[in-house]
Subunit: 101 residues, 2 copies
């Protein structure tokens, strides 16, 4: 089962590392305890909505962006293409057209 | 401050209502208490990751879809266009071109 907190933790950790920052730096900027942020990043604790704002602010990322990343990661595991899905009927049609060329 | 739990609650409630279902029906299908689901929908409680899976399953929606809706709603309040943002330099250029026509 894909869990929100695990994907969120991965996204936050990846963002922090890509900025070359330590847990200590980001937890200090976000004014949350290092231990709590560490647990969030490892997907061991649920992040409160207020913490999410603090941490995304500290990372300089819009909350919407972080959530979209999480959504995209979960979509991959679901096998769902979120923005545009082609109905089976149209997909079949496309297949026929390609075959007819 | 835009909070994740409030936008999530709105998305879950809108989805349930668009299906013409009651809190009682969805809470029963999701095997969560009606009171808890009600608090989630009103943005008063944080949803655990496990609850999110149960409720989105009960609604027949991929979790990724629900999170994307939440992300889109938050992006609107942030004034962020998530997929494609035009750098200021290009936006200026476009403005100049339009002005020159």
């Amino acid at each position: 089962m894909v869990l929100f907190r695990q994907e969120l933790g991965d996204v936050l950790r990846n963002a922090r590392r890509s900025q070359g920052r330590t847990l200590r730096q980001v937890s200090s900027d976000a004014r949350v305890s290092l231990g709590y942020l560490s647990e969030i990043e490892r997907g061991q604790k649920e992040a409160s909505s207020e913490l999410l704002v603090s941490v995304t602010d500290a990372l300089g990322l819009p909350l919407s962006y972080v959530l979209r990343e999480v959504s995209d990661r979960i979509a991959l595991t679901e096998g769902v293409t979120v923005p545009d899905t082609i109905p089976d009927s149209l997909a079949d049609e496309t297949g026929t057209l390609v075959g007819a060329r």
